[in-house]
Symmetry: C2
Subunit: 125 residues, 2 copies
DNA sequence: CATCTATGTTGACATACGTCGAACCAGGGT
DNA sequence: ACCCTGGTTCGACGTATGTCAACATAGATG
């Protein structure tokens, strides 16, 4: 599974830049398809353990952390791995093995896109 | 159930102003308690139907909508009601009965707070 | 009061989800 | 080669979740 995977919330472009899937929630009613896409991201963050893991990675120095640095969240190590996988599948994290350790890092554009979703529609453009 | 209910993400104040529960996800690792609180919100938006309903209300004129205006999301009416209740319990929506119809409206501060959660930690303040 | 329309509630069901222990894979020493 | 440590995958289990049909409730209106 090392080939490029489709990110749910963002459409990757050739340059590596990404374009958000959906307008702000407040702009117009989401279509079924938009909702399906965006909900996948929210769902991924909708578990306390996953949210802690994500926050731990996101706030870690350099925007990345190895599993050993963040796996102290009160669940077994397989469960940590399971949740990290979920976050990866949701397009929120990427992982890379370097020697003994596996490093996870956040996809910054995804954070920005999710933030945009929750933006109040600007009164005037 | 008409008495004031505790909002999960925000602590209501006397004035009606609210104060966010958590710092940006990228600022520092979330505590278990913070994660529990914030995850409840993300979870509420983690279902496509709920996300559509929420978006429909949020984007509706005046920031509010009656159920009849937004219940065309492809599921039965009881299911719509169920999801609206979930959104209410998560502190994302409030409801008010006016005559025959029940109107739902978004809690604007909650949107702002969630947006802040997804903010990149500003390099300099 | 009878009844109609708009919502909410209940009970039941299938599926999804979070969790764990055990087994398994990958690298790095020794 | 061997084993040790870090991490993932597998299989199983209990619980939560989304969904619907049926019933219940709240106002409006005749």
């Amino acid at each position: 599974m090392s080939h490029t995977k489709v990110l749910p919330l963002l459409e990757p472009e050739a340059s590596g830049a990404v374009v958000p899937c959906c307008p702000p929630l407040t702009e117009r009613p989401f279509t079924a398809e938009e909702a399906e896409t965006a909900a996948r991201m929210f769902k991924a963050l909708g578990d306390p353990v996953r949210l802690r893991l994500f926050s731990a990675v996101a706030s870690h120095e350099g925007g990345e952390a190895c599993v050993c640095d963040i796996s102290d969240v009160g669940v077994s190590q397989p469960t940590v791995s399971h949740h990290l996988k979920k976050l990866k599948e949701a397009g929120l994290l990427t992982s890379e093995r370097r020697g003994t350790w596996v490093y996870y890092r956040v996809e910054p554009s995804v954070l920005a896109a999710m933030g945009r979703l929750l933006t109040m529609a600007p009164a005037a453009v």
